[in-house]
Every structure is written in C-alpha cells, then in structure tokens.
C-alpha cells in the first residue's frame, strides 16, 4: 500500500464525498470480491450520490494517475468488479433513483444503482417492464447490466441489454461528462453507445441510463416438460427453434439440478426425470396457444414424459422460482460452486454436455447443469468444497477444459457473464492478436491512460504481440 500518496488521494476524495469516501478494513474487504471466486484489494471505496460527484472522483483519480473501478451490486461472475492495480472503487449503490418514466417515448431514465427487478416492478402498473432478466435480477443493478450487456432467460425472444438501452450518460476516464446515443431512432455519428454496452467498465462510468420499456405481454404460458433422456430434451430444444417458434424463454435443467432444486423449493419438479425443459411463451393469445401446440407435437416426437402447463400465475412463479434459485440450491450438495458460462450452437448441446460431465469426472468434481438452452448458453456449475486440498486448481483446470470444448464445438467464450479477469487470458482462443489489438484501439480512444478498470477483458499488452504472447493460454491459436 502506497501510504503517503494514498493519504493525499483519500483527503482529496473526502473533500468531495465526506464520510462517503472510505478506507476502513471492513469496506476494503467487502469490495475486494464479486460473484466470482477471484479476489483483490481496493485502495479506497467511494459512494457518490450523483453525476457531479462521480465526475469529481474520476477527475481526482485522473489527476493522481490512479485506476478506478465502477461497481454495481457485485454479482458479476467473471471477476469484472474484482479490484486489480490498487484502484479506487466507485460504488453506484447510492445512485438508485428512477429519474423519469417517459411513456410517450417508451423510455425511462434511471441511475445505474437501480436494481433490475425494482425497475420492472415500478413499471409493471404502467403495463411495461425492462426485458433483460438475469437470474440475479433481485439484486443486480442496471449499471452492471450495461457493463456486462446482461442477458437472462427472456433474452431468447427479446434480445440482450444492448437492444434495450438507448442512451447512456457517461463520465469518461478524463473526468468529462458525455451522453452516448440519444432518444432518436438513428443518433448522429458512430454508435458509441453500442460499444460502451458490454465494455465492463473499461471505457468510463455510466451515471444515467435511458432504458427501453417493453410492453407486458397480454398472454403468458409456462410449461415444464420432462424427459427420461437428456439427449431427447436437447433435441427438443433444436426442434422447437427449427419449427419456427421462438419462445420467450427455453431453459433446461439436468437430473442433478432437478433434484437439488426440488429439495430446495418444492416446486413439484419431477425428480425421476433425466432432464426438464422450462418453456415460456408470451404475446398475443393466438400465437401463444399455437406455440403450446407446436411444443406438444415436437416434444411428442422426442419421447417427452409429462408436459405440465402452469394453470395460474402462482404456479408459473413457482416453476420459475425453481429455475432462478438453482444456483443457491447447489449449497445442498457442496458449500462452494463455480458457475461457468459459454455458448455453443444449439445443435451441439448434447455433445458438449457430455463433455462437461466427462471433464467434471476427470477432475473429481460434481457438475450441475441449469442453462438457457434456447440460445445454446451453457451454465455448468462445478460444485466443490474449498476446504479440500488443491481443489481450486482442479476447478480452474476443469473450467478451462469446458471453455475449450465449447470453442471447439463452434461456440464462444461467454454468453452473458462477460470476460472480466476470469476469461481474459482465454480471449486468444477466439480472437487473433490483431483482432484484440483492434479492440484495444477502441478502448484507448475512451481511456488513453488505461485508468478505467484496468487489466480486464483484453490480455495485457494486446497491442504488443511479444508481451501478449506470454499471456496466451497453452494450446491456443493466435
């Protein structure tokens, strides 16, 4: 810790924020982690309440040449909010106001600390919602959704965060305030909004976000299909899509996931099944009923067992409760888990799932699969006990093997959790050094000094091939 420089930095930040600039051991410890298994140490934690305070904090960091890291709820799973390089944390928790609901434009301006589900609850009486719905939606923030271009089960039909954010007020790393995008359909100039979404805090700090309001569907149907063989379940997924149906959500759980979830929430999931599909259809009633029929036909061709259609909202919520609490339920079998996130072509789901089981076996870990099958987004959970000697090495090695298997199947590194620190050094599996150097040029335009959440997303030195190669994982092509 650089005591003398940090004292000056802390004094400067305190002059702006008073007691909302903190450096106590408790806060520093609290903000050293996110939802991943990685851990770091921040220098100072700041809790600004508005754009002006964020601007001043960033300006001070800029003047001190000190990195900063904007943080929402810290639910990210790729280490994007884990402090590296002794940064100042800019926590947006106190910027949690819905500023303006503009029904004529079907847009709402919100502060980044507003929680995802709080926003949809607020909009619900007006007949609208915010479409991206990550499983962490009760606690994750809109700012975090923007940083990670978050998805969620309903992104299958509605698209991810980028399609639902029309403009962002941003404090750039030099401390200037700008607005990327606007409320018109075709903003002038380049789509800086589009590149900022999903940039994981490496291009500045979002201080206000204009989100699109999606009308609540007039009709919703939720179905639970069980299969005696996981292969039939996966084949049903591809067949539903090939039949020209895009459900609002199409989720899959394997046998182990069904067992632990059922023991946890008692939703009436069939514990004897090898796999279940949770399918939701929404929209106008005719299309929804047509969809139910298509699913019945397609599933019948693939040896479906029972098809349970939720009769009311209560049952529907119960079925979803199982899905959305699956990760927490893993604690019933092991105290810790590592949640992965890759995407493969839907047609390769079975093949890659089998590889995931084999990989888990090879590393003596338990794999549980609960995932967004409709868009091929796998979320293998590796359950473990961190007290076991050497277990983390096995967890990381298994994770790497899962990523490799996904890429080999024609997939990508991450569907919705982002790259962060976790997958930074895997980027070379998907992109050439020139691809990454091009991405780095864009980051540099926003942040020439490299102060905004440094050392995330791109392997360090992406523009210098020699130093970059040191970080390329073994066996990766560049």
């Amino acid at each position: 810790m650089q005591i003398s420089t940090d004292t000056k930095l802390f004094d400067d930040l305190s002059a702006v924020l008073g007691s909302r600039a903190r450096s106590g051991d408790f806060e520093l410890g609290l903000y050293g982690k996110d939802g991943s298994v990685l851990e770091g140490q921040p220098a100072i934690v700041c809790l600004p309440v508005d754009t002006e305070e964020v601007r001043q904090v960033v300006r001070i960091c800029h003047d001190h040449g000190r990195p900063f890291l904007a943080r929402g709820s810290g639910t990210g799973l790729a280490g994007g909010a884990v402090p590296v390089g002794d940064p100042v944390i800019i926590a947006t928790a106190k910027m949690n106001k819905i500023l303006d609901v503009d029904l004529d434009n079907r847009v709402a301006w919100v502060e980044p600390g507003v929680l995802n589900l709080d926003l949809s609850k607020e909009l619900s009486p007006l007949g609208f919602h915010f479409a991206p719905d990550p499983s962490s939606q009760q606690v994750c923030s809109i700012g975090g959704n923007v940083a990670n271009n978050s998805g969620g089960p309903h992104c299958l039909a509605y698209g991810v965060t980028s399609a639902h954010v029309v403009a962002i007020e941003v404090v750039l790393p030099d401390g200037s305030v700008t607005v990327l995008g606007d409320l018109t359909a075709e903003p002038h100039g380049y789509d800086l909004r589009g590149i900022f979404v999903g940039s994981e805090g490496t291009m500045g700090v979002a201080t206000k976000v204009a989100v699109r309001l999606t009308p609540n569907p007039p009709s919703v149907r939720t179905l639970l299909l069980d299969f005696a063989d996981v292969r039939d379940g996966a084949a049903t997924v591809s067949a539903i899509i090939a039949a020209g149906l895009i459900p609002a959500a199409l989720e899959m759980m394997d046998k182990r996931a069904i067992e632990i979830v059922e023991a946890f929430v008692n939703a009436g999931y069939p514990t004897e099944a090898d796999a279940v599909l949770l399918v939701e259809l929404d929209g106008l009633p005719g299309g929804v009923e047509h969809g139910v029929e298509v699913i019945r036909e397609v599933a019948a061709r693939h040896e479906v067992g029972n098809i349970r259609v939720a009769v009311d909202n209560e049952e529907r919520e119960l079925l979803w409760k199982g899905r959305k609490n699956a990760f927490g339920a893993v604690a019933r079998i092991k105290p810790d888990y590592y949640l992965h996130d890759t995407v493969v072509p839907r047609g390769k789901l079975v093949e890659v799932l089998e590889k995931v089981y084999n990989i888990a076996d090879a590393y003596d870990l338990i794999a549980v699969n609960v995932f967004h099958a409709g868009d091929g987004n796998l979320h293998p959970i590796l359950a473990y006990d961190s007290n076991e000697q050497g277990v983390m090495e096995r967890v990381h090695a298994a994770g790497r093997a899962i990523v490799t298997a996904s890429i080999e199947a024609g997939g990508v590194l991450s569907g919705e959790h982002g790259i962060g620190l976790e997958k930074r050094d895997y980027m070379g599996m998907l992109f050439s050094s020139h691809d990454m150097a091009t991405q780095d040029l864009i980051r540099e335009a926003f942040d020439p000094q490299g102060l905004a959440n440094p050392l995330k997303v791109l392997p360090s030195g992406s523009r210098c091939s020699d130093s970059f190669r040191q970080h390329v994982p073994e066996g990766a092509w560049v």
Partner: protein, 304 residues
C-alpha cells in the same frame, strides 16, 4: 477445398484488393449511395464477396458474403421459412445496408438492424482481416465491435463476411389503412410491426398467427390494403418518438414511423433539431482505426 475454405479464400482475396495503401471505397448495390456524401473520385472501388455461405435453420443464423444482395439472402432463407428483416431495396447488399445502418419500416417490431448482427469480418486499413462478435445467437466475448461497424459507412473497415440472426417468417402479414389517430392505434395494439402516418392517413402492419392478426385488426376501424405507401425519398430525419405528436398535416409530403421516430420527407429543411453527439471522441476513434483516412474517403459519418 471445403466450402468454408473457399469462403475464407474469397475473404483473403478481398483483403488483398483493399490492400494496405491508397484510397479505397467499397461498393454495394448503390441504393443508398449518397448517404454521408459521395466517396472521393480518386478512390479505388472494391466489391465485397457475395453468396449465402451457410444457413442453419435450427440455429436461426446465416453466414454470407457482405456483397450478397437482400434478394438473394431472402430467397435462400425463405426456403426454410426464415427471414432477416432488413426491409430495404432488394438490390441492396447486406454489407451496404449495415454500413449505412438505416432500418426498414418494420423496425417497430424487429428493432434496429444493428441488433440482427452476430459476427462481422472486415478488412481494416492495413488490409488485414478483423473478426468481431461471434457465430452464436448470444455472445459477450470481447468488445461489441459489430455495433460500432453498423452505421460507420465503412470508415473503420470494409465488411467482408457477416453472420446474422434469422427470424421465422410470420404466418400472416396484413397491412391496414384509413384515417385514424396513429397514437391511439399504437396504444391499442401489442407490438405491431409498423405504424406509418402522413398526417391524414395511417398504415398499420400486423403480423403473427392469423387469429391474432384478425383480433388486432378488429380493434381498428381500418381497411385492408396491399402494403405500405411510397415513402418520400428526399430526406430522412430521426427524432424522439414523442416529437411526432407535434407534426401537423400541412399539405406537405411526409410519412412518419410512429413509435420509432423517423420522418421521411421531401422538405429540404424540416426544422427538427437533433442532439449533437460527442464528435471529438468519434473523430479520435476514426483516426485510430484509419490513421491515413484511406477507407471510404469523402464519406462522412461525423459532420465536420
């Protein structure tokens, strides 16, 4: 040589055509050729590879050369009941439509063309191929460069190959028209595909299964028509959707996209004022990605 290798070779050939020096401009179907200004007359013309290289109906994705026409793309996809709702002139190319970045008249339902793009391979100012995005329908691996390339008029690179997300062709598509308050129409319908208004008449497009289309049409007192009206081609202005409420029928020729905020007009100056973006950051980005300004010189995304 496998078909994929052959496509890769076409991309490399295109990259060498673009080369590493001298001004170049990429030519598509010339259907929106004037947008952003004409390229410098001295710029060498290059044409991106074309062809629908791989359509995977069960993945709802299609990979094609950027020089593929919309006509060819839609004919290939229709064989499996799918579409990519780009909704522009059939002779336009996929790369051209993305480079210009303007959406078609069904944007209200299908969103911006930008959100249909999964992966782009482009040739940069050094004549090198750059891949961004990924082939799957969901992906957050690395920066979302594809978003930036859409609407960039080729200033960051010349698109060679794109992978797009497909959608099922709706069972029924119906256009309705008549005199009505377009904002009332909008509030009555659930996610209509298009609502157009010229100050006197509305045109509404509803799509889906026939029972839903009938029910939605039943909410409106409108006549069934063949399709949308001809749109004035003089200018295209994007405003906030709610600003369309300020439009008044004044005998002049305009058609507005309700809920979207685009006005097609023949007026030279509409008087609309649009927000000014961060031009300095945009110019900085332009300079970093094409330091000598050799890609599509003359065209301007950022007005000087």
């Amino acid at each position: 040589m496998s078909s994929e290798d052959q496509n890769s070779q076409e991309i490399l050939d295109f990259a060498s055509q673009v080369g590493a020096s001298g001004p170049v401009t990429v030519v598509g179907g010339r259907t929106q050729w004037q947008v952003g200004g004409l390229p410098d007359p001295g710029a060498r013309e290059v044409v991106a590879p074309s062809g629908v290289w791989s359509h995977q109906p069960e993945e709802m994705t299609v990979r094609c050369g950027a020089g593929t026409t919309l006509k060819e793309l839609s004919e290939q996809l229709a064989k499996h009941g799918q579409m990519v709702p780009l909704d522009m002139d059939p002779t336009a190319t996929v790369g051209g439509v993305l480079a210009v970045g303007r959406s078609g008249i069904r944007r209200l339902k299908y969103g911006h063309v930008r959100d249909l793009v999964l992966q782009i391979r482009h040739v940069d100012h050094e004549g090198k191929v750059v891949t961004s995005g990924g082939p799957t329908v969901k992906n957050v691996s690395g920066y979302d460069l594809c978003r930036l390339l859409v609407g960039s008029l080729g200033k960051f690179g010349c698109m060679a190959e794109v992978i797009l997300r497909c959608l099922p062709v709706p069972q029924t598509t119906r256009w309705l028209s008549g005199p009505a308050d377009p904002f009332e129409v909008y509030s009555k319908l659930y996610r209509p595909s298009s609502i157009l208004w010229n100050g006197e008449q509305v045109w509404v497009c509803v799509e889906g299964v026939s029972s839903d289309v009938d029910a939605e049409a039943g909410l409106l007192d409108l006549e069934e028509v063949e399709g949308p009206p001809d749109l004035p081609t003089g200018r295209r202005v994007a405003v906030e959707p709610k600003s369309l409420k300020d439009l008044v029928p004044d005998g002049r020729s305009w058609v507005a996209e309700i809920g979207v905020g685009i006005v097609h007009t023949n007026d030279a100056d509409t008087g609309w004022r649009v927000p000014e973006p961060n031009y300095s950051l945009m110019l900085d980005l332009e300079h970093r990605l094409d330091p000598t300004g050799r890609l599509n010189p003359g065209r301007q995304v950022v007005e000087a």
